[in-house]
Amino acid sequence: MSKRILILNSYTLTQRPAGDQARVCSFLAGLTEGGYRVDYNLDVEVIDSNDLAQLEDQLVRALGNSPDLIHAVGTPNAILAVRLAGSIPIVYYGAHPEGVGVPECSAENLRGVRLTLPFTSNYKSYRFIRKLLPTVRRVYVPFYEHTVFCPESMRQKHNRFRERTASSPWIPMDSEFIGYRSLAGLNYIVGLDYRELVYHDAEDLEAALGMVDPCQAMLMPYNDSVYCCDAPRLLIRFAIEAGIPLIWNNNPEATHIGALAAISGCFEEAGRICGLQAAHILDTGSLAGIESRTSTRSWSSLNLRRAVELRLNFSDLVLSYFDELIQVAGSAPAQGG
């Protein structure tokens, strides 16, 4: 008798169907390794959306089909599944910068892989940015306020900063209102100036991007911005028009829509581990004996076309850092899912 699996997939930036994406493929590969094959002894339903409200609606509907297991891609999706799926086993992979989402992802029916965001996990990794972009002096990092990656305390700090400062909503690194102090510290350590934004919606982001000083600047969004409809397109468009590099943290697809670089956890490894864990759970009907794991492996992509447009030249040593070298012009990312 077939087992039924529900996949909650997000972070899609390209038009590529979910079934062709590394995130879904690697999970299915892990399941196959564990003895479960689609259309043989496995039915898979994929919900693919970057809109948390839409994901929630579709998850509620799909739970009516009584899945045996849920696979959640990303911390926000895992939290959604924990909240709505009752006791159905969940396997996930996702990041927890400064511990965000850890309590929610400690549910008894959840296992998986914690990604360490290798690029920004320590100063030695992050210092690579000075080799990649030696002229950059300032890093702008936007956070969308409606995901777990912007905790309430951070949202309030940014609101207070905006109330007190009539000009730019980008908070300087030495401000008491900074949310991600570790990220500010990391930039200070490697000799970069950090600017942090919490934005309400795409319109707010667009206005804030208009206040970025492009001189010696770069943008470094994370995947929370994928959940804001139109934010990825705005970020990429701004980077191209302003002539500044954009490095997307933790989404390998970003170079395929025009980012200069994408430095990520290894989704293929995480997906495969989740697939193996899922197979074990389906075999035994229990999560006993399965421990959540931590993945420190990275995967990175460099867009050489953007490099040429930005007049960047890289040494062989710098190029050898990347797992993938591509040449792609900027394009409109997938909308909302």
Binding site: Y123, K124, R127, R130, G185, Y188, I189, V190, G191
Partner: protein
């Protein structure tokens, strides 16, 4: 005299440290405890280590960094790793 001192390994390390904590190089004593005398915090300590690693093209392990109490300790470590001014 300051010029020539700054070109020595000790001078370069003192100069880096002075920049990190925001004092003049003359105020920096290589034998002073960095944490007790200059109130070096963990972020600035990592900034110093990172700057030194880049300047002297060396790698300092976390455990080695933990042992450092004075600039002389750091200078000795840099020398032990084969770096010279």
């Amino acid at each position: 005299m300051c010029e020539s001192r700054n070109n020595t390994l000790e001078g370069r390390v003192r100069s880096r440290f002075a920049e990190v904590i925001g004092v003049s190089i003359e105020e920096v004593r290589p034998d002073a405890n960095l944490f007790e005398v200059y109130h070096l915090d963990s972020v600035r300590a990592l900034k110093l280590i990172s700057d030194v690693e880049v300047e002297f093209d060396i790698d300092i392990e976390q455990e080695e960094a933990r042992q450092i109490r004075t600039l002389n300790d750091l200078i000795d470590l840099i020398r032990a790793k084969g770096a010279e001014a």
